[in-house]
Symmetry: C2
Subunit: 379 residues, 2 copies
Amino acid sequence: MNPGSDVTLRDVARASGCSVSTVSRVLSGSRPVGADAARRVREAAERLGYRPNQVARALRSRSTATVGLVLPQITNPFYPALVRELTHVLDERGRAVLLADCDDDPGTEAARIEALLARQVDALLVVPVDEERSRTAVAAAAGRVPLVLLDRSCGPGIADLVAVDNTAGMALVLDHLAARGRTRPCYIGADGTNSAAAERRAAYEVGAAALGAPPRLALGDFSAAWGRAAVDRLWNRESGPEPDALVCGNDLIALGALQRLRQLGVDVPGRTVVTGFDDIPPADLADPAVTTVRQPVRDIAVEAVRLLEQRLDDPAAFPCRTVRLAPQLVIRASTEPGDHPAHGTGDTAPSAPGPTGGTAPAPRSPDSPSASHSSKAAQ
Amino acid sequence: MNPGSDVTLRDVARASGCSVSTVSRVLSGSRPVGADAARRVREAAERLGYRPNQVARALRSRSTATVGLVLPQITNPFYPALVRELTHVLDERGRAVLLADCDDDPGTEAARIEALLARQVDALLVVPVDEERSRTAVAAAAGRVPLVLLDRSCGPGIADLVAVDNTAGMALVLDHLAARGRTRPCYIGADGTNSAAAERRAAYEVGAAALGAPPRLALGDFSAAWGRAAVDRLWNRESGPEPDALVCGNDLIALGALQRLRQLGVDVPGRTVVTGFDDIPPADLADPAVTTVRQPVRDIAVEAVRLLEQRLDDPAAFPCRTVRLAPQLVIRASTEPGDHPAHGTGDTAPSAPGPTGGTAPAPRSPDSPSASHSSKAAQ
DNA sequence: TTGAAAGCGCTAACAT
DNA sequence: ATGTTAGCGCTTTCAA
């Protein structure tokens, strides 16, 4: 009924008249093997429906070909695309992914990391919950296996990091607004304690100041609910002049803000424009569709795996590296009237073609001794 | 620097003055052990920072405490919530999750399943890509390990299945429309070859007929793009009378349809109402927010894991079982004018309180010898 | 209750 | 180029 269920190397060896080592060598290609022996082995393996037991292989070779992927909250709509790319890239290299969700809790995160290490993952990919409160667990884990941080940092010198260049992304947004003559922007973001929140907020402050805009921030969390609440606050109270641009820290906030603005009857993009960050799937389903900063998700995945495998080859070869990838501004109807007439998917202007770097001298911490690469793939 | 990296059972044995077997028994609790020996062992283990090597354990005990989760496309916004619940439920029981994404391709799916089996997963959770083209691989896998299908079937008698009761869900929608006096509904769905698509479509047909509505279907795929296209087709051509209700096969379609209706200036819910299915996160970010059928995601996860563990305990105990969980209608502004005034998250009416079963005698195939349970958790 | 010993299925030395 | 032999770290007989 199910051939191959418990066929072992020894069975193949017997059936092919070779020794187990020869069979092992043929099947794992670790050493040169005689042509006809190889053929006989392959035949026998095929015939018996042999499939190597990866657990046994792992125990002996001290490598599970498995990496742990630790996410703060998989329900954050930015992560599914990242997971997709990572699993594909890793799968191509024969590696499997053990997934862990942390419910946005550093304690849970520490526990999950522990569990993954006990399962002997070869390496870890971590999007840390919090810049500070994740540090201990992440640092400890990084001492045991190669570990690459994704999307968010965890303090300098802890581990390799691959993330979008938040500073450059914010600069793209501000340039876009400036070109459209917006002079009273307000930032709706998160005061969250993860690094992406901090970077975007800081980049906005610096960039807006450079443009001569009044420094105005509304800080809550990265949710649509906060987007709605922030609009209520900005429009219903005596909180200064009405903004003519809402620069949102991520797309969820932008979506929530847009929803409330429409309910209040505020014309977008006429009276105020709205921008997001990340380019999550629903961003172009809103009405108007949201102008946003697209993260180079595929590149992030490729880059992260590259760093990981370098560490696997030689764990001590480099000091901690930070790779910043250039984002792309996706202009949609929330900042550009009349545009994007029908086929809602319409992204308009690709931008930021070249290396990143941004307009503003933003807070890129002196993360590591090594360079802070940029541009599409930092080779 | 990193205690516990290579502390083994033998080290603990030496340090505690016991034999490895005693240590093993203490730590895995497999057999009664003397009180003070136990204490000494625990102390030593603690002190050395010992953590059991799960790979070695797995090799010996023939159980990896790992399940494979195979998804058609993790970027489908319905799955992240499911993944979240599953990982949490499994984690509570000490099991880890190996995740695989199939890119909606049955060939890839077969390969991923093979890879997971080679890694000796104890069991598989699969959302099959296609009702027919996934069958061979799924059936083969089900012959090797316990396998539970989620969300979509794969033909009768192949494996256990846990899914929402699509028929009941569609009945909730149709009742809701009928109560609002809508008489010219149109179904915008998918002619896709997965079972959820087929069930929803069939349930609509049967239910709409029962209400005396003209049978009208527009079939494409489960995407927002198709929602837009379908609306174009229904409004721009001479394709019969203008519908006063769009019953969409999932939320993405509904979101796309809504977007286009707004662009065409069609008032929702005044001139036509729109409903979705699944209740994915962006459904309540649209404007108007989408009335939809919420899947009991948590229950699906709990139920699936329950079935899995039963099979693990005794693989041949039962024939294939199908568990159908009752959905809930979430009424929002796309069918209910004036409602849901400000705080967009506002879900309105919980419904479908009791057992499921629906209005229409829909195509619930004679799946298995065993019963087709229903209601919230089929105990 | 505890210990000694035999493997789980494979790979990696070490021989030849 | 191939075979023989030890284990990887753990659980589990089997004795005591």
